[in-house]
Amino acid sequence: SQKIEQNSEALNIQEGKTATLTCNYTNYSPAYLQWYRQDPGRGPVFLLLIRENEKEKRKERLKVTFDTTLKQSLFHITASQPADSATYLCALDHNNDMRFGAGTRLTVKP
């Protein structure tokens, strides 16, 4: 069956450290992978998109990698801040729609 698994339900880190979130997928062949941020009571907000032929993408303090052999994406937030606390969702394209993982709730402590 098709699965999108994000490494842990919750991740707690200290301010200033790098947060690393994992997204693994099974029985999908995505051409694109996206990461979204979701705050409580709000819809997800797009952060980054990476294509299957790209190894890495960066945007400010964010970095995403995409390994189609391992069927895995890593999402890094460097120099994390309490304002980065949110749930982060990975999403794969599937027949022109997007399928989401369950998300990882990140808490950055001052």
Binding site: P44, F46, R51, G103
Partner: protein, 115 residues
């Protein structure tokens, strides 16, 4: 409009009632998606429109769920004879084209509680 708008923001229904949830996508956006999000879970795909055509409805959990987008803009998700297990946040998203590499713009959702 400035963003994707969903109404109502909250809906409480008695079991067995019919509900209608509305989505106003960003003006001009071709694609529109409906997702269901249970507490602590990621969004689960329900259905997808490109303009007025419903291209994929494989995620609709039962024939009690019906979605339409008759003029290719506003969409309505209807749930007939609501059940407790239908309680969730229903998210609508739109994207500017029909291409899979487009980012999705989400509304804030409709929180449905079935008593």
């Amino acid at each position: 409009g400035a963003g994707v708008s969903q109404s109502p923001r909250y809906k409480v229904a008695k079991r067995g009632q019919d509900v209608a949830l509305r989505c106003d996508p960003i003006s001009g956006h071709v694609s529109l998606f409906w997702y269901q999000q249970a507490l602590g879970q990621g969004p689960e795909f329900l259905t997808y429109f490109q303009n007025e055509a419903q291209l994929d409805k494989s995620g609709l959990p039962s024939d009690r769920f019906f979605a339409e987008r008759p003029e290719g803009s506003v969409s309505t998700l209807k749930i007939q004879r609501t059940q407790k297990e239908d309680s969730a946040v229903y998210l609508c998203a739109s994207s500017s084209s029909g291409l899979s590499n487009e980012k999705l713009f989400f509304g804030s959702g409709t929180q449905l509680s079935v008593l």
